[in-house]
Symmetry: D2
Subunit: 278 residues, 4 copies
Amino acid sequence: MNFNLFSELSYEVYSPTTFVFNIQAARSASQKILKESLLITIPLSTEEFELDEVRFIKLHVDKPMFFTLTYNAEVEVDYKIIDESSLFQSIPLINFDKKIYPYLFPSRHCQSDKLEKLALKEFGKYSNEYSKVSAITDWIFNNIDYISGSTDAGTSAYDTVVQRQGVCKDFAHLGIALCRALNIPARYFTGYAYQLGTPDFHACFEAYLGNQWIIFDPTKMVPINGLVKIANGKDAAEVAVGNFFGNTICTYMNVQSTTSGNFIPYKSEGNVIQAISY
Amino acid sequence: MNFNLFSELSYEVYSPTTFVFNIQAARSASQKILKESLLITIPLSTEEFELDEVRFIKLHVDKPMFFTLTYNAEVEVDYKIIDESSLFQSIPLINFDKKIYPYLFPSRHCQSDKLEKLALKEFGKYSNEYSKVSAITDWIFNNIDYISGSTDAGTSAYDTVVQRQGVCKDFAHLGIALCRALNIPARYFTGYAYQLGTPDFHACFEAYLGNQWIIFDPTKMVPINGLVKIANGKDAAEVAVGNFFGNTICTYMNVQSTTSGNFIPYKSEGNVIQAISY
Amino acid sequence: MNFNLFSELSYEVYSPTTFVFNIQAARSASQKILKESLLITIPLSTEEFELDEVRFIKLHVDKPMFFTLTYNAEVEVDYKIIDESSLFQSIPLINFDKKIYPYLFPSRHCQSDKLEKLALKEFGKYSNEYSKVSAITDWIFNNIDYISGSTDAGTSAYDTVVQRQGVCKDFAHLGIALCRALNIPARYFTGYAYQLGTPDFHACFEAYLGNQWIIFDPTKMVPINGLVKIANGKDAAEVAVGNFFGNTICTYMNVQSTTSGNFIPYKSEGNVIQAISY
Amino acid sequence: MNFNLFSELSYEVYSPTTFVFNIQAARSASQKILKESLLITIPLSTEEFELDEVRFIKLHVDKPMFFTLTYNAEVEVDYKIIDESSLFQSIPLINFDKKIYPYLFPSRHCQSDKLEKLALKEFGKYSNEYSKVSAITDWIFNNIDYISGSTDAGTSAYDTVVQRQGVCKDFAHLGIALCRALNIPARYFTGYAYQLGTPDFHACFEAYLGNQWIIFDPTKMVPINGLVKIANGKDAAEVAVGNFFGNTICTYMNVQSTTSGNFIPYKSEGNVIQAISY
């Protein structure tokens, strides 16, 4: 399936500022970038770099100004549908690839170390990891209210458990924290979402099940096969859309994902519930 | 029923310190103090005062020393058994006695203002206030682990919701916070408990239902008719056993409640579940 | 000095809601209410009650509606100017009137129990309580940024110490918490402020020094002799302008304080720095 | 300089548990491992792996048992003394090597995003990054009390700013958070420390200044040239000494670092203050 991505970000810069952006579609086995462009309204040089498979763009603005960054891309996305039953078999932690272990540790917004008892009490009863993560996803959907503007960039899973409200990043952080609290590796997914409704980026999470990363979206706001990945990270602190170091404010953001293809929203059906991996 | 209370507290004082204690049995319509004594190992004058029905003892130590305070009392306690069905009728908030309103507000350890969504999601489904408070009590008992030493004096309901562990004061604080979040007045109860097992004071909470304060103990550790009240307060911050202002540490504590009577633990039976009010 | 107070609050009520307001000028030895009126745009009965010297108004709305509450008053305010040197003498805690002790305890937004080391390190060096409270007031003014909208109703002194931003209530809470952490009784002051600039209520705090409550305003936004007290409380949780129990939102607020008199802003001068008590 | 390292860790295992340890001396240009050994009291196979230059050991225990892990090593450590003045020149953020950027982001225990105002107010006045980090180090030393047992594994920089107490990891986390809040990359350092006094591992932090990582120890407990690095990470969550996934407790720990050489504690002298980089 091909998606046309568009994002536009405007900044009012008051003092010299270095920007590190994370808005480009990821390159991976299941994502092929057919074309892409990055435009900026003033003559500034941007530099792309890649770090642990995350694509960053850096940029320095040395005096007060206003600028707009526009990204356009056409991306071909494949995904695998995986039979749920193939995920029932637990992989012993000791056999994980070494790159997986850091996704068991707590991170800025995912204080899994404080959620162990809660996770065990709520989800310990499920017989396998896949069922646990599915139950976590449903629990978040049923118990947390999606309310725009109810949280800010500093909000963490610890708060969301108590306050029971948030936006997509908060849902993702709580999902990650609960998985890690059960010794299931989990990571943040930031991306573009088809049929999102609001002109914004989207976030959800992936859990490591059966030696692969399986995607879960506790907001249940968008078809899961309409996602285009920007990046994975331990949480939003590692893969924020835009980091800036200087006195600057973001004044405008527009994000769109469209397709000219015949999009059929993925639905798991009957008893054969299926998972998706990108 | 008569109970013999005993408490003994030792302090190592390093610098001039003022103490405000809250260890004496309350005087009330249902608690009659038959005799009581307060001993202190060194010649210091103590002064008793009462504030909002709470009995305090104050004491000033003007130089480094070690002392032990011992309280003995014999107290006759009555309690009312109230038919649950008489509590089903909700009293409109607007008709409360004015002294009740402050027990709807958040306090130091009971951040009810942050727990509104959680309380509504978990307990909003119950049809009356009595059922809600009963469900809160059961939920705490089932979802929070009683673990000695797992929390400290700074722990609040906000933390307990996440960390799912604590001691009697934490159970009480969470109960209070959840009630207030549902617009049910609730207050802290500190007292002596018969058959507690550990030589310590006990804490639980009261909810205002049907124009009276009904007692609930989410720890379910002791028979509820074996309690002797020391004081009520908005939470432990108002009625701490011992406040001291100065460089001092508490080095020893022993607390006992015994009876020579024939104690029959209260049990609600059959369909006629009953509540207790002191 | 006479002040004309005006406040107007509008609410959109979605479900039956009980309101408890706290907007009327306090009656006290130094505040005389010359006239006052309370208007409400729909025929609802309000009831006034007083609790611990705080004037509350309660009101029940039993079906969805929109209403506006308007308060007008003319109040004569006296204040005492107190020679700073008379405050240097410390009153031993043990000699306090019993009503003072609760103002030493931590409260919802003033976690003085967690700020003891900080308070001692920053302000322990000052030789008397008055100097300590003055230093606290100056420290808050110098170290916390007043930024409208930077905090919400759930913000506490614990947060403000870290995040270094807030509005008048946050400044007051931090002042109170730091005083209590140094064993100086402190309480919240909510009121009307002449020359405030924004159409809002104001908040500051009082510390108990030399057997009287002395007022301090760490925002330094208004002349301290232009304040008219609504109420004192342990913190904003006890004396919030408007509590409502039901599904309701406040849609509008306007607050004004004017005078036809010749207002001379109070300034402490020369070596004779002076304090104000109402 | 050669150091003999010794660490011994005992675990009581109650259920199948996977361990990931991080106790071996790092291999680097300035650290040469002359010999090392790892012993375990029962026949279990350990596997070493390296991830982002961190050496981990993993181990699975499949049934309840007690075991002790013992590490011995002899390590030759070199360090560079760097003239302070060479660090005065700021390197623009935009020119950093890409691997440096993640050390600007907040992490589990270092909520730099919440400390920006505090950092700017306290340390913004210093003219260069080196002076800022030195001032941060001194401020932590002067304002935080080192108190064993005063914090736990969940404590973060956010708490330490308020509570003003902690152990070496808390001092390090606060240093890191304050640096990042000022846009100075900073990372956690865990290691062995000569002359530490207590049989434990040590932690401090490194700041990225003049294109190199310079070491700072806000505890000032040990000579800075007596450190042997185990690992760097964003904070303790990434490089904890021992992670275990299962029902297990650590029952004993002993850590020692000795030298047979003539150890001369490093001191910066006169006006030529110097920094150390490993």
